[in-house]
């Protein structure tokens, strides 16, 4: 299959095939990337990063996107195993759904690497993740610093989505430990998450206009929350804390009078690329750990404004650690992302 990589950055840094490490110096290495979702800004960037890194090191990446349909992801994985690739990357998913099939792959001798997927049995599988716990605690520390203990707060999130559930667990701890007064918990994840959350938060704010801070641990939701706060003219009294970052998010954060004061950030493109590198290192026999964590940083509105940052590339320049270009690299395997 022909891989479509529209990224010019990739071709610029491609190492000649012959100079690559085993097994990348011969025929293209067939890798299947089985995604739970490839849609939305985060995953689009993630996939682009993975594609760029793969193209640079002679990996032929076949991407399937289940579009949040877990049954389809199960089928995609089965079909990936049936096509007997050199390795499989799994990006997000449901443990119970994927675990038995991952075992099938391991039993069939196919190397498997997972990203942000909790497994009970990680035997023979490389596990990578961006730490939800650290992301959440990063912004929540900022929240406590801003509004103090015992403040009136609200949570806008949905249940039933693994990363959101993990972030909520951290939130619940912070609420108890800091004696926060949780006034409301609303929110949903839909096909149009940003727009569909506006009325929910709008109603909550009408009910509790004295709210001081809102935690919205998913940037699509955060955008809806910001909209609802502005709609109620409460941007001076309500602070919003989010998770994730994108060009679109930065635009919202730096807008005049934006209530979104802090977010936790990784660079999805860099992460997508790093996952592919981790796989490459392991295929080359050079990866010594089986559990790779990618660090997140907390980005505040003030930081963005002070440094005149208006998009992700400028943020990368200001915070080079986002690029992850010193994580899972080798001489023959430099970091490449879109």
């Amino acid at each position: 299959a022909q891989q479509t990589t529209s990224t010019d950055a990739a071709s610029a840094t491609t190492v000649p095939v012959a100079d690559l490490h085993e097994p990348f110096n011969g025929d293209p290495v067939e890798v299947a990337l089985v995604q739970q979702s490839g849609a939305g800004d985060y995953f689009t960037a993630w996939t682009a990063g993975a594609n760029a890194q793969a193209a640079a090191i002679n990996i032929d990446l076949t991407v399937t996107d289940a579009r949040n349909d877990n049954a389809k992801q199960a089928s995609d994985l089965e079909q990936a195993i049936a096509s007997n690739p050199d390795a499989i990357i799994i990006d997000h998913g449901q443990t119970d759904t994927l675990e038995p099939r991952i075992r099938d792959a391991v039993d069939a001798g196919i190397p498997v690497i997972v990203y942000d997927l909790a497994l009970e049995d990680t035997d023979g599988v490389i596990v990578t993740s961006q730490s939800d716990a650290s992301m959440a605690s990063g912004v929540l520390d900022q929240l406590i610093a801003d509004v103090g203990e015992g403040a009136n707060v609200g949570l806008v999130s949905a249940e039933g989505f693994a990363p959101l559930d993990r972030r909520k667990a951290v939130w619940d701890e912070y609420v108890t430990d800091n004696d926060l007064n949780e006034q409301f918990f609303v929110g949903e994840v839909t096909e149009s998450t940003a727009t569909d959350n506006i009325p929910l938060v709008d109603a909550a704010l009408k009910q509790y206009p004295d709210t001081q801070a809102i935690f919205a641990p998913y940037d699509e939701i955060t955008k809806g929350v910001v909209q609802a706060v502005i709609q109620n003219n409460l941007q001076d009294s309500v602070k919003v804390y989010g998770i994730d970052i994108s060009n679109a998010d930065i635009e919202v954060m730096i807008a005049d009078g934006s209530p979104w004061v802090a977010t936790s950030a990784t660079d999805p493109a860099a992460i997508g690329a790093a996952v592919v590198r981790a796989l490459a290192l392991s295929l080359a026999g050079e990866l010594d750990e089986t559990d790779v964590q990618f660090p997140a940083i907390t980005v505040t509105q003030d930081f963005l404004l002070e440094n005149d940052i208006t998009n992700v590339s400028q943020l990368r320049d200001a915070e080079p650690s986002l690029l992850l270009d010193d994580v899972v690299v080798a001489d023959w395997l430099p970091a490449v992302s879109s």
Binding site: A39, T44, F185, V186, S192, I198, A203, E220, A248
Partner: protein, 348 residues
């Protein structure tokens, strides 16, 4: 010669039943509003009322489009895709092409009309049944949108493919479509009410509306009565496309960026309010005020239930139950059976 029969006055019982059928849905809505007003002090505020209307405006306007399509006996499954396309194309015009709001509005309306025209050509000239044609257009338009924007949301200051920063941004005059006020009322609310009145006026008061419903109720007979059936069907789909793109315009101004997921959930809502509109006032056919009322009912439920602090999943259940009760009032107690023609799967 034959004489006119005198109408005898109808028994009370029947009149009560007719009243229930006619006003049952409205009564449920009013009862719900009253309930929320009593239990939730914040529900009563003027701000909240306008807030609800503002929130529901895009759904209501897209629903008006569906009402048009239903009037000619069809259904348009591409309204959500159309609105989503409008969001992205508006963002592209403003941010990437760096144009002002007026240009973006023009581009959006044009794209809506073109998508409507594509539906019209497929249905009227290529004779593909409306449900199938609009389904195919839905996929195509969603795909086209994503191809144009490369699957990404467009926002100001984004880096373009050539490495430069996008020159434009969402201009104030464009954002006015969400934030602007005329007197105490915001622009989306005014647009919603104005478009409802316009669609009502056209459908109910003008000869063109008459012709549209004639086409919907018996196209064959309409043709023999001298109605240009194909032109009217085409016009209805183009009108529907334009209304869908207006809904997209409001969404774009609200989100303030070219959110790729915008519009996805609009289809079901728009079809739902148009369907509810058929029954709301006991009219039994697609109508503008009914559709608007259907939209308001949904907004009231979403806002009221949220204020009560119910989790979203109890809201779904509540929506279902309220809808059921209202439907029971509207149809079960009515003496004449109604069938809603909502699209066909066979060529006409």
């Amino acid at each position: 010669m034959t004489t006119l029969t005198v109408v005898s006055s109808r028994p009370i019982g029947e009149r009560v039943l007719d009243g229930v059928a006619k006003w049952g849905f409205v009564a449920v809505t009013v009862a719900l509003i009253a309930f929320f007003m009593i239990t939730e002090p914040n529900f009563r505020t003027v701000d909240n009322v306008f807030g609800m209307l503002k929130y529901i405006a895009p759904v209501g306007i897209a629903g008006l489009g569906v009402t048009l399509a239903m009037t000619v006996g069809g259904l348009d499954l591409s309204v959500g895709a159309n609105a989503g396309f409008a969001v992205s194309i508006a963002a592209w015009t403003l941010v990437v092409a760096g144009q002002v709001g007026g240009v973006a509005v023009g581009v959006v309306l044009l794209s809506g009309a073109l998508i409507g025209a594509l539906n019209a050509v497929l249905i009227v000239f290529a004779k593909i049944p409306d449900l199938l044609a609009t389904l195919a257009v839905m996929f195509t338009v969603v795909g086209l949108k994503l191809i144009i924007v490369d699957g990404k949301s467009i926002s100001s200051q984004m880096t373009l493919a050539d490495g430069t920063t996008a020159p434009g941004r969402f201009t104030e005059d464009f954002l006015w479509f969400d934030r602007g006020m005329i007197g105490p009322v915001s622009v989306p609310v005014i647009l919603f009410v104005a478009l409802t009145a316009l669609v009502w006026f056209i459908l109910d008061r003008t000869r063109w509306g008459r012709a549209l419903s004639a086409v919907g109720s018996n196209p064959h007979a309409a043709r023999l009565a001298g109605i240009k059936v194909r032109a009217y069907r085409a016009a209805a789909y183009i009108g529907c496309g334009i209304l869908a793109s207006v809904a997209g315009l409001l969404l774009a101004a609200r989100i303030g960026q070219g959110d790729v997921s915008a519009g996805n959930s609009l289809l079901l809502d728009a079809v739902a309010v148009a369907l509810v509109g058929v029954s709301v006032l006991g009219i039994g056919r697609p109508n503008a005020w009914g559709t608007a009322l259907g939209a308001v009912l949904i907004a009231v439920m979403v806002t009221g239930f949220s204020m009560m602090g119910l989790p979203y999943y109890i809201q779904d259940f509540g929506k279902g139950i309220v809808l059921l009760v209202a439907l029971l009032f509207s149809f079960t107690f009515r003496r004449r059976a109604t069938t809603i023609s909502a699209g066909s799967t066979t060529a006409s």
